[in-house]
């Protein structure tokens, strides 16, 4: 059968593709294109300017990076509400760590970057252990740690800004490489890596299996608890990256920074077609979901819509996206 498929000409294959094209299977892609066209029209000509586009990408990269890790958690059947607090917590502690080194030391910046990633991963590990070893429902466990992380950073900062003493540190977050901001590069890199992890590794396959049916996974000799734990660590890692990029952008952290990141991260995954009931999802979908959220904001700003209405528009898009994906099921 494979042979005959290959023998078919490209044209018939293409025709077949469109004949079998099902809107609900490509809802994210179609929605993305429609939204892009709409934004182009509404925001003409500013929207299409390179600066505007990179700006959108920069804005969404912070929650987008976390959304990539979140996608794995949601596919595995979990959720992480603590990522926003975790990012602020990690960012703050990282600046404290950075300030242990005197002057504008390059070594300090490198060590602090590593520190942020490791610290975030450890926070994620903590969440994962609560869920797997502690057997607490993910929603509850991470609701708890969401409060804990936020409260700790407020306590350590004395509810004020945590300022970095290292001027080199700011080069990470505000840096631009080949015309594209560093956070966007990081977003792309993490997306590519996690896309491969999800689609082409044993771990990725097992994450889907565990999320689709935990019992089946257990009876198929899969180490279910380990498979459930690792996505939390990965998400902690991504939160650590965002903490690094965010805290170095302004070279400071406010203890109330990054509030609501969890919602944007989850929204990006859901708009991208990841099923909240687990077992199904895609990293590239999340990338599109995150960019779509950014485009909506941008479009509304360029269109002069009140900023108070922006959240409503985002909410609407989330609902429409889910309707498109699930309502065609029957």
């Amino acid at each position: 059968m494979v042979d005959s498929l290959e023998k078919r000409s490209f044209a018939t294959a293409l025709a077949g593709y469109f004949r079998n094209f099902k809107l609900n299977e490509h809802a994210t892609g179609v929605g993305f294109i429609l939204l892009f066209l709409l934004a182009t029209i509404v925001g003409w000509p500013n929207f299409l300017q390179f600066r505007n586009l990179t700006n959108i990408l920069r804005q969404i990269s912070y929650t987008g990076i976390i959304g990539l890790g979140m996608t794995l958690i949601i596919i595995s059947g979990g959720i992480d509400l603590s990522v926003g607090s975790m990012t602020a917590f990690t960012g703050g502690i990282t600046i404290f760590f950075l300030n242990l080194f005197p002057g504008d030391s390059v070594l300090a910046v490198i060590l602090s970057s590593l520190f942020a990633i490791v610290f975030g991963s450890v926070c994620g590990l903590f969440n994962g252990l609560l869920v797997t070893k502690g057997r607490i429902a993910p929603f509850i466990a991470t609701l708890g740690t969401m409060s804990i992380f936020r409260s700790l950073i407020q306590y350590f900062s004395g509810a004020g800004n945590i300022l970095s003493n290292n001027n080199l540190y700011a080069d990470i977050g505000s840096g631009v490489f080949l015309g594209i901001p560093v956070p966007v590069w990081v977003f792309i890199a993490v997306a590519v890596v996690l896309h491969i992890v999800l689609n082409d590794t044993r771990f990725g396959r097992y994450v889907c299996a565990v999320g689709a049916n935990e019992q089946v996974a257990r009876y198929s000799a899969i180490k279910v608890q380990t498979i459930k734990l690792i996505p939390y660590v990965i998400t902690g890692f991504t939160a650590g990256l965002t903490a690094l990029l965010w805290s170095s952008r302004l070279n400071c952290i406010n203890p109330s920074d990054c509030t609501g990141y969890e919602l944007d991260a989850i929204a990006a995954a859901v708009i991208g077609g990841t099923s909240m009931s687990g077992g199904k999802g895609s990293v590239m979908g999340t990338v599109m979901g995150a960019v779509m959220l950014g485009m909506i904001n941008n479009m509304l700003v360029l269109g002069g819509v009140s900023s108070y209405l922006q959240q409503a528009a985002r909410g609407l898009v989330i609902i429409v996206a889910v309707l498109l994906q699930y309502n065609n099921k029957n």
Binding site: T201, N213, V216, A221
Partner: protein, 514 residues
């Protein structure tokens, strides 16, 4: 019971429901091909066919869950359009599904009235009235179920009674029972048949979907055979025997279900379990398995057979006892350990513990052996697909495309994919727990032949089955379990229904806990 006449009933017609030229296509695949069928008022109509023959699709169309591509449905002579299941229910057509739609945390009467609650004038629930009516109906149907019990505490048979009662509370005139006997044991089956006869006497028309020819012969008035989406025949059951039905179902001559038994028991013992204890479930279980033999485990539902092999596979906590594989005592803490030792366990619960519904065929097959397909940390999908093609061919899996999610396949094909997954782990010992549950005669025979083939290759097979003829037909030795213990081991001419039943019920063999 006083059942009001459905609206629009023509008094003279004795055809209650007819379908004319019903055709159903999914994308381009035709699963039903212009079916014409008339069902008489008050009859029990058997609907049989292999998996994939179109039985489920037909009853889903009758009950409004699917819309036909072409054709009409007449109810009492009038053309009706059944747009969804609630329309069907209003027309007096109800399904008793194979998988029950009951809520475990609610009581019997709450489930019976779910969606049709009786309310007081204030809008609050009239629990008293519901309880009373439910109790009256259960009594009327001679169902020994208390209305205040939680569904979760009921047996499968009792749940089924509640499901039937729920359908009747909606004044169902046509009751479609989708393989209602799959999970029932002997006397529960008798109770169900008594109930069905009683409903028939009350004028309820029943469509009885089944795989089991003997049951169809016992309970039905007429029987319809479907094959490959086509209507093959409609006969009065008295005028046709089981063999003819089987022939019509598979479309070719049907000689014998079981391959000839070949005794090729080696002398070396590959699995030796001694004094196994699992809290509240298993007590002092010992048995041996020889190389290349087909060993049976019989017993009533709940005797601990499934639990025994879950324990052996490391899926349950073992309190004490020893397991030796090929003479070496082993510790199995996780199913992975068992797999690495060459053990394989095919669960009885295909949907819940077996297949991944939204995975395609290759992903399902390589789930356990995935490490074999990893090259430099990445899955070699080409190798995966090739292996899947191999199994599709070897196991005669009927698939329009390998890339389709498994939930679109029939039970028999799902079971074969599930089997292929475990065969791909190269097991030395293969445990098959109710391997033919819910699959058709043809697929059954293929699976029996397959078990023989494995045994011939020196793979030791254990068959757990509640269908006695299956263990009798397949196995060279049979252990009978009762209440978490081994009641006895039967060999040679002792493997017969009587001996198995005597051991399973405690008339013979080791007595209960002590």
């Amino acid at each position: 019971m006083d059942i009001p006449k459905p609206p629009g009933a023509a008094p003279s017609a004795d055809i209650i429901l007819s379908v004319e030229g019903i055709t159903k296509e999914f994308s381009t695949v035709r699963v039903l091909d212009s079916i014409d069928l008339a069902i008489e008022r008050g009859e029990i109509m058997g609907l049989i066919g292999e998996n994939g023959a179109g039985k489920s699709t037909l009853i889903k169309i009758i009950s409004g869950i699917y819309q036909p591509t072409a054709g009409t449905i007449r109810l009492n002579g009038e053309v009706v359009k059944i747009g969804d299941y609630s329309t069907a229910k209003n027309l007096g057509i109800s399904i008793v599904p194979q998988e029950f739609n009951l809520i475990n945390t609610l009581t019997v009467y709450e489930n019976i009235f779910l969606g049709n609650e009786i309310r007081l004038k204030s809008g609050l629930l009239d629990k008293g009235a519901m309880r009373k009516q439910a109790a009256a109906q259960l009594l009327d149907l001679r169902m020994p179920v208390k209305v205040d019990r939680l569904i979760g505490d009921l047996s499968v048979a009792e749940k089924q009674m509640v499901e039937i009662s729920k359908a009747l509370m909606l004044h169902a005139r046509i009751l479609i029972m989708d393989e209602p006997t799959t999970t029932l044991t002997g006397h529960e089956l008798e109770t169900l048949f008594t109930l069905m006869r009683q409903l028939k006497a009350q004028g309820v028309t029943i469509i009885f979907v089944s795989h089991k020819l003997r049951e169809v012969k016992t309970i039905c008035d007429r029987v319809t055979v479907l094959r490959d989406g086509k209507l093959i025949s409609v006969d009065a059951v008295d005028s046709i025997d089981e063999k003819d039905l089987a022939r019509k179902m598979i479309g070719r001559d049907f000689t014998q279900v079981f391959p000839t038994k070949k005794y090729r028991d080696g002398t070396d013992i590959v699995l030796h379990v001694e004094h196994l204890e699992v809290k509240n479930l298993l007590h002092d279980v010992s048995f041996t398995l020889r190389r290349g033999e087909i060993l049976g485990f019989a017993g009533l539902v709940g005797a601990g057979r499934t639990e025994l092999f879950e324990a052996v596979m490391g899926l349950r906590h073992v309190e004490s006892g020893s397991i030796a594989v090929e003479g070496k005592t082993v510790r199995i803490r996780h199913a992975r350990d068992a797999v690495d030792l060459g053990l394989a366990y095919i669960s009885e619960d295909r949907q819940g513990k077996g297949i991944v519904q939204n995975f395609d065929i290759p992903k399902n097959i390589t789930l356990i052996s995935l490490a074999e397909y990893v090259k430099r940390h990445l899955i070699d999908k080409q190798a995966e697909g090739k292996k899947a093609s191999h199994y599709v061919k070897a196991f005669n899996i009927v698939a329009a495309s390998q890339k389709m999610a498994l939930r679109y396949f029939s039970g028999g094909n799902q079971q074969k994919v599930y089997l292929a997954r475990w065969v791909d782990t190269n097991p030395k010992i293969l445990v098959l727990d109710e391997p033919t549950r819910g699959i058709d005669v043809n697929a059954k025979r293929e699976i029996y032949e397959f078990i023989h083939m494995l045994a011939a290759k020196g793979i030791s097979c254990i068959v757990i089955s509640s269908e006695m003829e299956e263990v009798i037909g397949l196995c060279s030795r049979v252990y009978v379990m009762k209440e978490g213990m081994v009641a006895g081991c039967l060999t040679d001419e002792h493997i017969n229904e009587e001996e198995i039943m005597f051991h399973a019920t405690g008339i013979k063999g080791r007595k209960a806990y002590g």
